[in-house]
Symmetry: C2
Subunit: 342 residues, 2 copies
């Protein structure tokens, strides 16, 4: 009943009366190169197919120093933003024959470092990292060593590493302009985690838009310390106390927007009648909120796909691959959470 289960070249080769080398060469598509006769080739291929034998990738990895594996480190796979990126990374990688080893850094720089080290220790061929975003010391070394590595989202532009991010500056600028176009002047900004590249770029976009329209920038309207729902809730509460005259909130993530919505509800401010809201990063559910949220959409899928492609480039030629920042455009998705005033 149980098939003999041929699980090594040696067994197969014995069965077929050829050498392991020959089997290896046929199965790795090198039959031509090494002049294996068509008959032998067919016999081996047929037998391997019948017994569905695949050369042991572990042994292969040892011999070839290639594991056909890519490491992926993400701050929180349960966050839909990162899940979207991961989904595309997995799919594009598979299309190129690579498997993904997934690590979750839980938004924790120490765990991130540990994960990165673990993955290199496991001899992944390359790595895609969505950094937590606060420190980059542990990456400088790998940048110097020119290991195949691509940063996504919370990038560090000055490290000489390949990066994929969205055009956070212009995304935020456009969204702010949209609020200004609708007559808003007192626009609060929930900034997310300070010191991260996306956070800074978004706030810059916000202030740039204000400046261009000669709307005074009020630093008290910029608040928040993380991208999570808690910060959205709390800082909106505080904001309403400190500046009751705000007519709009620009939340730098969709979780922040969710928190802001909760706070506004409790304070009996209606959206958009009393306060307009724009979020950052589109998610399917935003269209179903009350009201449907206007938001700055980021191309998740493209980000994941681009990261894998940049990485494949590096893996092909570690020395002279492009190591620069790729900036993907955002788009403003207008729904019903912004109201024209004045």
């Amino acid at each position: 009943m149980n098939s003999p289960s041929y699980n090594s070249l040696k067994l197969i080769s014995k069965k077929l009366g050829v050498s392991p080398t020959t089997v290896s060469r046929v199965l790795s598509g090198q039959a031509q190169k090494y002049r294996i006769s068509p008959e032998t080739e067919k016999a081996i291929k047929d037998f391997a197919a019948k017994e569905n034998f695949t050369p042991n990738p572990i042994a292969k990895g040892l011999r070839l120093k290639k594991t056909l594996t890519i490491g992926l480190v993400i701050p929180d796979i349960a966050n839909p933003f990162f899940a979207g990126i991961a989904s595309q990374v997995v799919n594009v990688a598979r299309a190129h024959g690579y498997a993904i080893v997934l690590c979750d850094s839980e938004e924790n720089p120490a765990l991130e470092k540990q994960s990165v080290d673990l993955l290199w220790a496991r001899r992944v061929d390359g790595m895609i990292l969505c950094p937590v975003g606060q420190t980059s010391d542990h990456l400088a070394r790998y940048a110097r060593e020119k290991r195949p590595l691509v940063l996504v989202d919370r990038v560090f532009p000055d490290l000489g590493l390949a990066c994929v991010s969205t055009d956070n500056f212009n995304g935020a600028k456009t969204a702010t302009e949209y609020l200004l176009d609708n007559g808003h002047r007192r626009i609060a900004c929930l900034q997310g985690m300070p010191g991260t590249a996306p956070g800074q770029a978004r706030v810059s976009g916000y202030t740039a838009a204000l400046r261009a329209r000669n709307v005074p920038f009020d630093p008290r309207l910029v608040a928040g310390d993380s991208f999570g729902e808690q910060s959205g809730y709390l800082d909106t509460k505080l904001l309403i106390q400190a500046a009751p005259d705000i007519t709009a909130i620009f939340a730098m993530s969709n979780l922040l927007a969710l928190g802001a919505l909760r706070a506004l509800g409790e304070e009996n401010r209606r959206v958009p009648a009393d306060v307009s809201v724009i979020a950052f990063d589109d998610q399917p559910y935003l269209a179903h909120l009350a009201p449907p949220l206007t938001t700055v959409a980021q191309p998740h899928l493209e980000m994941g796909a681009a990261a894998v492609k940049l990485l494949l480039d590096q893996m092909r030629s570690p020395a002279n691959a492009l190591r620069s920042g790729l900036l993907l455009p955002t788009s403003l998705i207008i729904r019903k959470s912004v109201q024209k005033i004045n």
Copy 2:
């Protein structure tokens, strides 16, 4: 500048004047067993720590036939339900020293089979699979071979495999009873993908609740063919045409509920004033919808954690590990999408 980078036992042993064997034994914690002197042990450990050397896991895997790797196959990592499970799988697995190789079957049985085969071919020590749910032929063989394998969510109870799922029957029964308690009699049911264990169990719970209260079961009120938003939207549209007198909709997933909400909005039926809605599976955003959705919550995190633990059991003793179904309780989270009528 570049450190010598000791990357093999041989190099380390040469440097320290001992044999590779000794280094291996110390670094694998077998110093005691093989009577390595404390001084030698310390010297080796210190040196390894300083150069942060770890024995090559690939070579280790080849020799030991263990990869310290678990395969995880998921129908769609971008779906928050599965992302939640994955998150916990990754974290618990890491806590036990295992890395996760992630595959996405894209809700496609063929891709699922391919992923499963790929993972075994890569010599994962065990696998956690959230099956697409339609066919199980490709799993029977692995069940017979007693490979470490745990099914999650869309389980096949009769395969002799370890399974983790939620108590879909009672979850649906309780939710339906809640609707009945609120006076609803014409309750539509968006069933999700027919033929899957969760789908069937949920519909059974629904009909069981009706029967227990002597409410006639109308098969025309059960509709739908997948768990996605599209089905929720379309089938709600059709349902409203076919049975305009429905006062409640029980959606067997949160995406279905989202679709239903969209359809109801278009048809100018207010929720919950005209139609009450209950969803299945809680997600953070459900609390922020208009209205906040009452839903049957599933313990995602526990599901992932339980799956890893069952798997670890099997990997420790493949022969006599528990191979049965684990049923986790659901809880009804009451928000504002159900209204009392009559």
